[in-house]
């Protein structure tokens, strides 16, 4: 595996499987009374969040702490960043504090890439979501969740529905799930599919109903409220009618199919409350799996130099 995790495109099939298998080992830890491994003792993980995202931040925080790393939370709003400190100066500060890994969430696409390649820091950089670009650990936790329910993803059909244009979750999933052999279909109104999507390793469709019958999993994307005022679609009602996963559409899914959502959900908009709360919704499980996957990422980037599973001794602790 490379030194940074910036994009799902950085992961070969073997890299991805190594992370997912490691995460499976680590997940078993969650059921133990003491949920902690000493692997990253003495290492420092900085959560550098330029955007509010409590759920992703606490997921990374829990992951790092369960590996015994020291965690520093650096939220842009509570620091000099909001007073205009540059990304470079922030990075140099973290470097001076001896950060071993920087988990960065940033509103500007490519900011983690910039941090990793500029020479400002020596630490590993993990992209925790950058602008409308990527969110690779979300894709990993989604792949992890899919594998637990569907087994090997080779030939499995995953339908991702919603605002693909602005979705880092969709970009990372399209790349990673394809790498893992799944057949990905992106469903969205034409206004919310990026120009050039035909070059992606996916199918696309404007028709949700047509895609449902053959889906092994449906991933609903959050629709941001600001899209509603910029003519991407006429109204929330119309969007919901054409692209929402309501009870009627849910009934048409194959019985084994699961429903996913990266959260936070707009209940009643892209997903109905009944569907969100149904037994086939794995939305809460995605959160649990997120911690295990992020542990695996930090473990492999920082701990295992050549990767590999936790030792039997470690796993036994």
């Amino acid at each position: 595996m490379r030194r940074h995790l910036l994009s799902s495109a950085d992961l070969t099939r073997d890299d991805a499987l190594e992370i997912l298998d490691t995460a499976a080992e680590l997940l078993s830890l969650a059921d133990r009374p003491i949920k902690k491994l000493p692997t990253l003792r003495g290492r420092t993980v900085v959560n550098l969040f330029f955007e509010d995202s409590t759920r992703t931040r606490i997921s990374f925080e829990a992951a790092a702490k369960r590996l015994s790393a020291d965690v520093i939370n650096f939220a842009a709003k509570g620091s000099s960043v909001s007073k205009g400190e540059s990304l470079k100066d922030t990075a140099l500060t973290l470097e001076a504090m001896g950060a071993d890994a920087v988990v960065i969430r940033h509103g500007s696409s490519g900011a983690p890439h910039r941090l990793a390649t500029s020479g400002w820091v020596r630490s590993c950089v993990v992209n925790a979501g950058d602008g409308t670009h990527e969110h690779p650990t979300q894709a990993l936790l989604d792949a992890f969740t899919l594998r637990r329910h569907l087994g090997d993803l080779e030939g499995r059909r995953v339908t991702i529905v919603g605002d693909v244009l602005h979705s880092r979750v969709a970009r990372s999933n399209a790349l990673l799930l394809s790498t893992l052999g799944a057949e990905v279909t992106l469903v969205a109104p034409p206004t919310l599919l990026p120009v050039g999507v035909s070059t992606w390793p996916v199918q696309t469709s404007y028709d949700l109903d047509g895609a449902l019958d053959k889906s092994d999993a449906v991933m609903m994307l959050r629709v941001q409220s600001e899209r509603m005022n910029d003519a991407f679609f006429p109204s929330a009602r119309e969007y919901s009618r054409r692209y929402g996963l309501d009870d009627r559409r849910f009934a048409r899914l194959p019985v084994h199919a699961i429903v996913m959502h990266p959260g936070p959900m707009n209940r009643g908009m892209e997903i109905s409350a009944t569907v969100a709360d149904s037994a086939r919704s794995v939305i809460v499980e995605q959160v649990t799996n997120g911690v295990a996957v992020r542990m695996a990422v930090l473990y492999l980037l920082l701990g295992g130099s050549t990767g590999g599973q936790p030792t039997a001794e470690e796993a036994a602790l």
């Binding site: 540059s86 490519g110 409308t132 670009h133 990026p194 070059t199 992606w200």
Partner: protein, 426 residues
């Protein structure tokens, strides 16, 4: 004033001959005085001094990025004897006072002729016409008017500007960018923008505006100059407008002749520019358009920015790149070494035509007896690695850094006086 006898030089790539530069003119070598300084120019090519229609000198207002003096030093080092200084300074060059100030700073610096471009609208706000006539009548004798950086998107205002400048043989140089289609735009809209998650700047935003402006120029019978054409569709539209007989001219930047949007995958803002880098298909069509004359000239859009405005994340970075000192090398690499242009045509695209569009009468003249001695001598055999720290500019945002490019300016003469000699700026 020293007289220079340039010996064995290949004028426009032709048979070697001698050139006598005396009293600001090109004169007969047979009349060379005994104290003439000989410049051995064997193997060098002589072109008329280059003329840039599109330069940002940043003064007044952003002297941390560039000054008229530093920018004109960079111009001389790049073989230019005249540059047009864009109006988007602080304060904006929208009055006779500001354009005269820039003009005077250029004369004081003395490295090249600095021709101020006047703003089309007051404060570049796109609402009221600036006093175009006052700028035209000023000591700066402004003939090129542009809100460059911002498009004159109001169709009525654009029409009026085109009409109004006819009174003093002016030209409106439009930055073609439909504003609504490019809100928040970060890079060319295409496969790369989709993958990189950056807001796209679609070709149609440029092309729609060029189509409208060509129609307006045709309708009112005025001169339109299209700045930094970047898409293949734009070339087609300009070809069509010219076929109608309309007075439409266009420029292309060196960076749009060489660089593509694939470079944005580095997320290094050194490649952030407006209009954005396009695709390799666009590059090929731009080169062909420059070769067949559809695009009249190369203009640098030299846009200096201080380090901190580029040393940041892509979204926060300023748009623009340096160009004066690399323009000739990029043109040699993309147009001459590829067989698309010979040196005579390079002289046409980088000196004769831009001077004609800007109505700069003592520039862009053929190197013949009696012509003004604005000359650049280049060594096309040298290959150099572009090193940003060697620049005369105050800024370092050079997208060609580290590239190996052919050609080097050995000497530049401004009305017979060298500004560069032996490859060194004087």
């Amino acid at each position: 004033m020293t007289t220079y006898l340039v010996t064995g030089v290949s004028v426009l790539g032709g048979t070697p001959c001698d050139l006598l530069l005396r009293d600001g003119r090109v004169l007969d070598p047979a009349d060379a005085p005994r104290d003439a300084v000989t410049v051995d120019a064997e193997g060098l090519v002589a072109l008329p001094g280059l003329v840039d229609l599109h330069t940002h000198l940043r003064e007044p207002g952003r002297e941390d990025a560039e000054t008229v003096e530093s920018g004109s030093r960079a111009a001389a080092a790049g073989g230019f004897t005249a540059v047009h200084a864009m109006a988007n300074t602080e304060p904006v060059a929208d009055t006779a006072g500001v354009v005269e100030q820039v003009h005077n700073l250029g004369q004081t610096a003395g490295y090249c002729d600095v021709r101020p471009v006047g703003a089309v609208t007051v404060g570049l706000d796109g609402r009221r016409l600036a006093e175009l006539g006052a700028m035209a009548d000023s000591a700066a004798r402004v003939r090129v008017f542009s809100d460059d950086g911002i498009c004159v998107s109001d169709a009525v205002l654009m029409r009026r500007a085109l009409e109004y400048v006819k009174a003093f043989d002016g030209v409106v140089a439009q930055h073609p960018q439909e504003p609504r289609l490019t809100e928040g735009a970060q890079m060319n809209e295409g496969a790369m923008s989709g993958v990189l998650g950056l807001v796209g700047w679609p070709a149609v935003a440029e092309e729609a505006m060029i189509a409208r402006d060509c129609l307006l120029a045709g309708h009112v019978g005025s001169r339109l100059h299209v700045c930094h054409v970047s898409t293949s569709g734009s070339v087609e539209l300009i070809r069509w407008a010219k076929s109608k007989g309309w007075a439409v001219t266009a420029e292309v930047t060196p960076h749009h002749l060489l660089l593509t949007d694939e470079l944005v995958a580095t997320y290094d803002p050194i490649y952030k520019v407006n209009p954005p880098l396009r695709t390799s298909e666009d590059v090929a069509v731009l080169r062909a358009g420059l070769a067949d004359g559809t695009i009249d000239c190369v203009a640098t859009d030299h846009a200096p920015h201080p380090t901190e405005d580029k040393e940041c994340e892509w979204g926060a970075a300023a748009m623009g790149m340096l160009g004066l000192e690399t323009a000739l090398s990029v043109v040699q690499h993309t147009m001459v070494d590829t067989g698309l242009l010979d040196w005579a045509a390079v002289a046409d695209r980088m000196s004769v035509r831009p001077a004609s569009i800007g109505r700069v009468f003592d520039q862009g003249q053929p190197l013949q007896l009696g012509s003004p001695a604005n000359v650049v001598l280049i060594d096309p055999t040298v290959v150099r690695t572009i090193e940003p720290m060697e620049s005369q500019s105050l800024s370092r945002n050079n997208p060609f850094r580290g590239m190996e490019l052919p050609g080097r300016v050995v000497a530049t003469f401004l009305r017979g006086r060298p500004t560069v000699l032996d490859g060194t700026l004087l």
